[in-house]
């Protein structure tokens, strides 16, 4: 399947499901629009609701190559687009007896390609995932803005590289800070919520083949209680639900929700509070 086959919301939804990603209608529609309009899609949502997974599933079901740029504090052009292999350049300089021509030194031979350049030059369909863009700083965001409008970068020594195939771009943000308005305006936007219990059960079954219904039901009910409880510092996401279900499956008959609470809650106070108030009683 290729991008051209995602020409309707239903097709997008079915395609994502083939790779085990069950998207609700608004999300499938957002993905569909991102493909059809060729516009970047900005996904926000609580931790562990499957923002990154969307890109992975989209790439897998369309056969496109997934190229991921993980943003971090201090990321700049040379982490994201290209850099020169300075060590090899220095070696080449010293090895040459009659000096080296500058053009030769700054040729493709010494170019290190980073994810964004890879995405532009890849011959074929690409899903470009720009993960946790809120970790990067304002300057990098300004660069992204330019990149996402032209899908071209200029390397002073080599010239301009333009995308062979315009990649489908998915950005994710954890909202540790507000992204710049200009960047947001260039993107389609979708907020991923926690799934409803029935949907979450389906997700457990889709992602973990052979999961007994009993375990899936218990874990989803337990996670629902924890989220509803609302008084936790960190609410468990879908990712935690899957880990928890896997843990219970691995333990078999000995599996106990309370003993495996660490699969879902990672803050000591949260674990204490849940035990003290007997939140999981009767699940």
């Amino acid at each position: 399947m290729t991008f051209t086959q995602l020409r309707s919301v239903e097709a997008a939804s079915t395609a994502l499901a083939t790779d085990g990603y069950l998207a609700d209608r608004p999300l499938a529609l957002a993905v569909h629009l991102a493909v059809v309009l060729e516009q970047p899609l900005l996904l926000e949502g609580e931790a562990g609701v499957g923002k990154t997974e969307v890109a992975r599933a989209l790439a897998a079901c369309t056969g496109a190559r997934l190229i991921r740029l993980q943003c971090h504090e201090g990321i700049d052009l040379h982490h994201a687009v290209y850099d020169w292999d300075y060590a090899r350049q220095l070696l080449a300089l010293r090895a040459a007896e009659h000096g080296v021509d500058e053009g030769e030194l700054f040729s493709r031979r010494f170019l290190l390609r980073r994810p964004l350049l890879d995405a532009l030059e890849h011959d074929g369909a690409v899903v470009l995932l720009i993960d946790e863009v809120d970790r990067a700083d304002d300057e990098f965001e300004a660069f992204l803005l330019e990149f996402l409008s032209d899908f071209a970068v200029t390397i002073p020594e080599l010239g301009t590289v333009t995308a062979r195939h315009r990649p489908v771009v998915i950005l994710t943000s954890n909202r540790t800070r507000e992204l710049h308005d200009a960047l947001k305006r260039r993107c389609l936007y979708h907020w991923i919520d926690y799934p409803a219990p029935e949907r979450e059960r389906e997700i457990v079954h889709a992602r973990i083949p052979g999961m007994p219904e009993e375990i899936a039901r218990r874990v989803v009910a337990a996670v629902g209680r924890l989220r509803e409880h609302g008084d936790l510092y960190k609410l468990p996401g879908v990712g935690e639900t899957l880990v928890w279900a896997n843990a219970l499956l691995a333990l078999g008959d000995e599996g106990d929700l309370d003993e495996t609470l660490g699969a879902a809650l990672k803050v000591h106070e949260d674990v204490l509070r849940v035990r003290e108030r007997k939140v999981l009683e009767g699940v």
Binding site: S8, V9, R25, P26, L29, A30, H32, L33, V36, L37, Q39, L42, E44, H72, E73, G74, D76, W84, Y86, A87, Q89, L90, L93, R94, A96, G99, V100, E102, L105, D137, D138, N174, R175, T176, R177, E178, D181, K184, R185, C187, L188, Y189, H190, W191, D231, L232, Y233, K234, E269
Partner: protein
């Protein structure tokens, strides 16, 4: 359809969303790409195109209902009109002419050039005793103080002259050795740069803080306007994020918007519950090395145990926790209120926060962090 999309955009803009011509064109393309006959799909498609933050979603639903739905009325007029009497008195009114006679305004302007000594006097004066004219004088000083804030070392590097941080700038070394026949004769170095550290300001706007809240909110506004990575919250019985409301240059409009957003202005205080919400809902904004500044007198009518737990959590997730208490200016001050007793063990610094001098002290401490 174009006309209706236009009016949808107009309603969205009236509510503060940013919808430009580009978004409108996208909306057209989006509608063309889907099955328009389904109202639900059209709504979802338009929402995807026209919203760019979570706050936009609610606005969009209102606007959509107004334009395509049963025509519910949308809020109109200035947010200031909806405020109660107490909120309006708590807001600075100095920039709004009217009450003062033109003659008086003229006199004030005459005073300003020779105001050096006035400013000196103002530094130590308690915010609660400020006149409107003094508030106007202080505004400029507050804005200057708000520009000072904490920095942190970034992983981004910048070229430096001398060797510091032991990072060779290979890019420039290669360039330079081209000129010396391939021999890296001249060395170049890079060192980590410094960036603003995130600051979270949490201001108490309950009844007991009213005399101070008007000046402290000015400080919040000036900080949001002057620095990057500043988050502002206000609380009485519950917490409200007012960063977006305080944005923008127009001082009185910003404070008016903020006051309208805070539902419990000049009401009771539940500091513990407010901090609990800060920890839970906004934990990610606090968590990454932010300096948290709480501005409150510590008169808490909530559960002191809750306050204690939440302060402990906040201290652990924040980089530094500073508490500004206007009552602490009094020489005999001891943290005896239930709230302060619970909170003080978990603060890194306890400052006064009742005068310009104390805000200056805050700025100094922030710079040293």
């Amino acid at each position: 359809m174009t006309a209706r999309l236009g009016s949808l955009a107009a309603v969205l803009r009236a509510q503060g969303s940013r919808v430009g011509v580009g978004e409108l064109l996208d909306a057209h393309r989006a509608l063309a790409a889907i099955d328009c006959s389904s109202r639900e799909d059209s709504r979802l498609a338009l929402r995807t195109v026209l919203c760019s933050s979570r706050a936009d979603l609610a606005r969009f639903e209102l606007a959509f209902a107004a334009v395509f739905g049963d025509g519910r009325p949308t809020g109109d007029g200035s947010p200031l009109d909806e405020l109660g009497v107490i909120e309006r008195t708590a807001l600075p009114r100095v920039a709004i002419p009217g009450s003062a006679s033109p003659l008086l305004a003229h006199e004030e302007r005459m005073v300003v050039p020779a105001a050096w000594s006035d400013v000196e006097l103002l530094r130590e004066k308690d915010f609660a005793q400020y006149t409107d004219a003094e508030m106007a004088l202080a505004r400029e000083l507050i804005a200057r103080l708000a520009r000072r804030g904490p920095m942190r070392v970034s992983r981004r590097t910048r070229p430096v002259r001398r060797r510091r941080g032991h990072m060779a700038d290979l890019r420039r070394v290669v360039r330079a050795s081209l000129r010396t026949g391939g021999e890296p004769v001249r060395r170049h170095w890079r060192a980590p740069s410094r960036r603003p550290r995130p600051v979270v300001l949490v201001c108490d706007v309950s009844g007991s803080m009213t005399p101070y809240a008007r000046m402290l909110l000015q400080y919040l506004h000036a900080s949001v306007a002057a620095r990057r990575r500043v988050e502002a919250f206000a609380f009485g019985t519950r917490l409200t994020r007012i960063t977006n409301e305080l944005g923008g240059r127009d001082h009185d409009l910003a404070l008016g918007r903020a006051a309208a957003a805070v539902a419990d202005f000049s009401g009771g205080t539940r500091i513990g519950a407010a901090l609990a919400e800060l920890n839970r809902v906004h934990g990610r904004r606090v968590g990454r090395g932010a300096v948290v500044v709480v501005l409150s007198d510590g008169w808490d009518r909530g559960d002191p145990d809750l306050l204690e737990t939440e302060m402990a959590r906040l201290r652990r997730s924040a980089h530094r926790l500073v508490w500004l208490n206007p009552l602490a200016a009094h020489p005999d001050f001891e943290p005896l209120t239930r709230g302060m007793r619970a909170a003080v063990p978990h603060t890194d610094e306890l400052l006064a926060g009742n005068s310009l001098a104390s805000l200056e002290q805050l700025a100094r401490i922030l710079e040293e962090i």
